[in-house]
């Protein structure tokens, strides 16, 4: 158990030291604030109040479609392909800790920072929304919190799939390129083959809309959650096997 704890703590520390991580956190916080500032500069009318109250949900769309996926792809490429290429993956594997635990700690840190980005974005967007729309924005806090919380699941699934790519390719830059191509292709897939969208993880990035208001029927939520969890299990298992077989 100590090996897993030590490995997770080390990964968390190393990731926080990267400028990219701090940069992503800064964007997650600054973006809703800038949006609120822009809305505040507009003439006072009904639209400002509506947009201000909706700021957390607008921010969430940006976070789940662009910022968090980009962070997950860049970080997964660095954690697996990048560390294998620069020899630092070896440093972790030469310690008394199994490869399965090293993998678990890397997935933990990816998920942890994805959750932290969502949390930072929610806090900033909620505060900024209140600044623009006043007390009206407070009504939607519980609703937006629920939306942010459920958004973590598709982000974890995306992180696991990005990790798989990171384990297959040989360099961080190559990994990032492959991931961006796959992400763009998966984003376009529902437009080209609508019936395939149900199988695309990317199509679930905004599944929080299913939970908004009265929400989608329970059966639909369970089916969507089941597909995401199944993706997570398959990608995690494949990742463990790939890292275990990796020859350094």
């Amino acid at each position: 158990m100590n090996g897993l704890y030590a490995s997770a703590r080390n990964e968390t520390e190393r990731l926080w030291r990267r400028r990219k991580t701090k940069g992503f956190a800064l964007v997650a916080v600054l973006l809703p604030m800038l949006a609120a500032w822009a809305l505040g500069a507009l003439p006072e009318d009904g639209l400002t109040g509506v947009l201000g109250g909706d700021l957390p949900m607008l921010t969430l769309r940006f976070l789940t479609l662009i910022l968090v996926p980009l962070f997950l792809m860049m970080t997964a490429a660095d954690l697996f392909a990048g560390e294998a290429a620069d020899g630092t993956l070896k440093l972790a594997l030469l310690r008394p800790v199994t490869r399965a635990k090293v993998y678990a700690s890397k997935i933990f840190v990816l998920s942890f920072y994805a959750a932290a980005l969502l949390a930072a974005g929610w806090i900033a967007a909620t505060a900024a929304g209140m600044f623009v729309a006043g007390a009206e924005a407070a009504d939607g806090i519980a609703e937006s919190l629920k939306a942010y919380a459920v958004s973590l699941l598709p982000m974890i699934a995306l992180g696991l799939l990005a990790s798989l790519v990171g384990l297959i390719v040989r360099s961080a830059a190559g990994g990032m390129a492959v991931m961006l191509l796959v992400y763009a292709a998966a984003g376009l897939l529902p437009f080209l083959v609508p019936q395939a969208s149900v199988w695309s993880v990317v199509a679930y990035a905004d599944w929080h809309v299913l939970w908004a208001g009265a929400g989608a029927p329970a059966g639909s939520l369970i089916r969507s959650a089941g597909i995401l969890i199944a993706y997570c299990i398959m990608a995690y298992t494949a990742g463990v096997v790939l890292l275990d077989r990796k020859q350094l």
Partner: protein, 244 residues
């Protein structure tokens, strides 16, 4: 003497047909075992297999009586390594890297980090980022990381790479002292046969993936010739037997 490493009929073949074949040997506590042989002989592959970085196609590796394949954490608990290159986290300080390594050994006192940094001569650079270190300093940091946990077996692959003359002499002294006084076993691979001859109690000569001979250094088996000449003669002899 207790056997700390037991390698039995280990084989590993890469796609380029290189690797190791049917290698068996043991290393006892306090022994300095030198691996010598030409480039491509399989020394680094063997060290990778023993440290778990690569998996053997067949055979068994035991560290402190634990099978590496099934009890990895227990097997590696008493092992320190430098394999192939002295890799470091470029953006972390020397102290930060060792603090990360120390987390895997919960009973390690915090003062141990400072002690090993002093031992390898990096105490003055403890708060500098390793990315700016010279090759020799990186090698010293890797050595500090390998010795940090107070291992009972240390695997060193070309440990003198990048070290200056003083560093090489200090490394030899440290290896002999740890082996004699603390019973630490060393498995050292180096192309500097003369250097290995100064510290090894036994050597294993490798050629084309095979361990063709293991000899005790102090038996004077090579008579008037040097270890280098003896090694070359053994390798030539092996090639003649195998290829005519």
């Amino acid at each position: 003497m207790e056997t700390v490493l037991k390698v039995t009929d280990v084989a590993k073949r890469y796609k380029n047909s290189r690797g190791v074949q049917d290698v068996s040997f043991e290393v006892a506590a306090g022994e300095v075992f030198g691996l010598i042989g030409p480039n491509g002989a399989g020394k680094t592959t063997l060290l990778k297999l023993i440290s778990g970085l690569a998996r053997p196609d067949r055979g068994r590796i035991e560290l402190f009586g634990h099978d590496l394949a099934t009890r990895f954490e227990q097997a590696m608990a008493g092992v320190g390594c430098i394999i192939e290159t002295a890799d470091v986290y470029a953006k972390m300080t020397a102290y930060g890297q060792l603090r990360q390594a120390a987390r895997f050994y919960p009973r390690l006192p915090a003062a141990r980090i400072d002690r090993v940094l002093e031992q390898v001569g990096l105490a003055a650079y403890r708060h500098e980022r390793a990315g700016g270190f010279s090759l020799g300093m990186k090698q010293r940091l890797a050595l500090a990381s390998a010795l940090l946990s107070g291992p009972k077996l240390v695997l060193l692959d070309e440990p003198t790479n990048g070290l200056d003359v003083e560093g090489m002499a200090e490394l030899r002294t440290a290896i002999c002292r740890l082996a004699d006084e603390e019973g630490v076993a060393f498995l050292v691979s180096s192309h500097l046969v003369h250097d290995l001859g100064l510290i090894a109690s036994r050597v294993g000569i490798m050629s084309e993936g095979r361990m063709i001979r293991t000899e005790a250094v102090d038996e004077g088996l090579w008579g008037e010739s040097s270890l280098e000449q003896y090694t070359m003669a053994q390798i030539r002899g092996e090639r003649e037997v195998r290829f005519g």
